[in-house]
């Protein structure tokens, strides 16, 4: 009974928005990248560097909003590496993505030492203000994420930019024959994905938290990737999936299940996801050219 009461509480529901925020942002980023044909498994690393940059920005200027700006720039820089190596030089996207993830782990700890003289947890820094909604606090990034969902939908399905990005991810040669620069649009899309993932990092470090902790992205980039696939590369779909993950995580953190060993509660979201996917959802078909570098004029 208690369990049910806990599950259906308003505060639990609202808490899932906080859990979902970084997932929503990174998944939207993933959609940009993959819809343009670039697989981005570096979201994890971009979240991490975004989280670090946000803390550094906030610490060095005393203004957490500058921290947010830094996080987006950091995400952008990492995305630029991915774009340069994979779009311009056509390297394998998954390899480079893996490299960026490892690089992000290393460089954040390294910079913690160089900039803060510590290795695990940065000093506390100024964080974003929080605003209450039904008595529950949300930082502005959560609101931004919620606004971005329809905005991204609008971009993809109502503007010519979206049309071009979608066409490039499906059939780059077709776009090319119409004089659309495949690589330019891929570059832009990957950069946007980096900005969004960086913002997700800022949410973790100075939105909901106020310090950087090593490896604080804790696999959220991969979960965001799963949300994107689960949501079939659609902003609303990804939002729904991110909310599901967020809700499941909130349950795992807040609800007691007498019949499940406490050590296993953290696995609930993942089991739930598998069950839902296996039971109710059909195939997720990625954009046809996703993962393929584009060579002009070749078979």
């Amino acid at each position: 009974m208690d369990t049910l009461k806990q599950i259906f509480s308003l505060s639990l529901f609202l808490a899932s928005f906080r859990f979902a925020t970084p997932l929503i942002l990174a998944a939207l980023g993933g959609i940009f990248s993959e819809r343009s044909g670039v697989v981005n498994i570096a979201l994890e690393g971009m979240i991490l560097i975004g989280a670090f940059a946000a803390v550094y920005g906030s610490a060095s200027t005393g203004n957490p909003w500058i921290g947010v700006l830094y996080s987006m720039i950091a995400g952008l820089v990492f995305a630029a590496i991915l774009a340069l190596v994979c779009v311009t030089f056509k390297a394998n996207q998954i390899v480079v993505g893996t490299g960026i993830n490892i690089f992000a782990s290393g460089i954040t700890i390294f910079l913690l030492q160089v900039l803060f003289g510590v290795k695990g947890t940065s000093p506390m820094v100024g964080r974003l203000p929080a605003y209450r909604f039904f008595g529950v606090r949300f930082n502005p990034i959560t609101y931004i994420a919620l606004i971005l969902v329809p905005v991204v939908w609008f971009i993809f399905f109502k503007t010519h930019w979206g049309l071009r990005i979608r066409s490039i991810g499906e059939h780059p040669a077709a776009a090319d024959t119409l004089g659309i620069s495949v690589n330019k649009w891929r570059f832009i899309s990957v950069l946007i994905s980096g900005v969004l993932a960086g913002l997700a990092g800022a949410h973790l470090s100075i939105g909901d938290g106020s310090a950087f902790v090593r490896e604080m992205s804790a696999g959220r980039g991969f979960i965001a990737l799963a949300a994107m696939i689960f949501g079939k590369w659609h902003p609303f779909g990804a939002f729904g999936a991110a909310m599901l993950f967020g809700f499941a995580e909130a349950i795992a953190v807040r609800v007691d299940f007498a019949f499940i060993p406490s050590e296993l509660i953290s696995a609930i979201p993942y089991v739930l996801t598998l069950v839902v996917l296996a039971g109710f959802f059909g195939k997720s078909i990625p954009p046809a050219a996703s993962g393929e570098p584009y060579y002009k004029g070749e078979k």
């Binding site: 390297a91 394998n92 480079v96 690089f103 993942y270």
Partner: protein, 370 residues
């Protein structure tokens, strides 16, 4: 018909480019070393000495590469069948945990039964953990990337969080120490061995610092078996066909579901063997932290090795050397993160320099016509 020499040339080009990318990565890495006020020369000579400086260092480099070769293979094989296995981490944990439990739970089995039993049990459970997403993909259209990510998290909960708590006998977050009968042969004990001790140079291994154990050779064997499986057997032919073109494979009478599930099961078993080796050969118990992110590094190893089993061995040894040499770098005062950065740089440059290869191929081809 100079096919054969063409092939050798292309392999040499691959190797050359890989070496070049390592060199470039090391050069870029000096930037970070300068930031720490140390000398890159000292750092790199430490790296080299640590990884290859003497016999023990080389042996230990091979030891460190063992789990990486195996997880690399676990990513490479499904890749050839059109599947992306991000789940080596979870498969490794499940395999290692199973081996750890079998290793301590049966107290009176003779070694020739206990060890193989523990290895096979671990590989089997790892295989199931890989086969499950294969099954979900084949029968229910669940994207294997999501499924394997989810199963990684579930494996952590099941083994590290829950499993250890069930079996733990001391405060240490680890299962009890395995029986000696389940331990893999460590080469430092070579002089105690009736046959191996007679081998030439056997005494070189008899150094307490050498941690190399037989799992390295099992990993090599796994690579050869997988190479053979992929390129020489009918099943491998079928798996590759499914990977390239499932519709074409279906037309050719190939059962795509079977190919997918088999590839994922085998890959899970191989990742499981990585865990088995760490438990039975390196740590002698299943402990928190023993996975060390091998599953994810395995992705890089697989792709650097061009998802070719032989390439994976080389990629695994490269990363093993970086890990082993990196520790030595720390002794000379370089922060351990530098090693991670260099690993990442190697990955970038190996990937980026592939472009060169395409370019070289083009230029050569053009030259050939004129």
């Amino acid at each position: 018909m100079n096919n054969y020499s063409d092939k050798i040339k292309s392999i040499l080009t691959d190797l050359g480019l890989s070496l070049l990318s390592i060199v470039v990565a090391l050069i870029v890495g000096t930037l970070f070393i300068f930031l720490t006020d140390k000398s890159p020369l000292d750092a790199y000579s430490a790296l080299y000495i640590g990884a290859f400086g003497n016999f023990s260092a080389i042996a230990n480099t091979l030891w460190r590469s063992t789990p990486l070769i195996l997880t690399g293979l676990a990513v490479a094989l499904p890749f050839r069948a059109g599947l992306f296995n991000i789940g080596a981490e979870g498969q490794l944990l499940m395999g290692g945990f199973t081996a750890g439990v079998v290793g301590f739970y049966f107290t009176s089995l003779p070694a020739f039964i206990h060890l193989p039993f523990a290895i096979i049990a671990g590989m089997f459970v790892g295989g199931l953990w890989g086969g499950l997403p294969g099954f979900l993909k084949a029968k229910m259209d669940v994207h294997e990337v999501i499924a394997t990510i989810m199963l990684n998290h579930i494996a952590i909960a099941l083994t590290i969080n829950y499993g250890i708590n069930i079996f733990r006998d001391t405060g240490r977050p680890a299962t009890p120490r395995i029986m000696d009968s389940a331990a893999m042969f460590n080469f430092k004990n070579i002089m105690d061995h009736p046959f191996l001790s007679k081998l030439p140079f056997a005494e070189l291994f008899a150094h307490p610092a050498i941690r190399l154990h037989i799992n390295f050779f099992l990993a090599l064997a796994a690579a050869v078996v997988l190479w053979y499986l992929l390129f020489k057997t009918t099943l491998g032919y079928e798996m590759r066909a499914v990977g390239f073109n499932p519709d074409g494979a279906e037309y050719g009478g190939i059962n795509a579901s079977k190919g997918i599930i088999t590839a994922m099961f085998i890959s899970g078993a191989v990742a499981g063997l990585a865990g088995v080796g760490e438990v039975l050969g390196t740590h002698f118990s299943f402990m928190q932290g023993m996975d060390a992110g091998y599953g994810f590094t395995g992705i890089a190893v697989a792709l650097i090795g061009q998802t070719h089993p032989i390439g994976v061995i080389l990629g695994g040894i490269l990363f093993g050397a970086l890990a082993q040499g990196g520790l030595e770098m720390q002794f000379s005062g370089i922060p351990s993160e530098i090693v991670m950065l260099i690993q990442a740089l190697v990955i970038f440059f190996v990937a980026a320099l592939q472009v060169f290869k395409v370019y070289l191929a083009k230029r050569k081809a053009k030259g050939g016509v004129e």
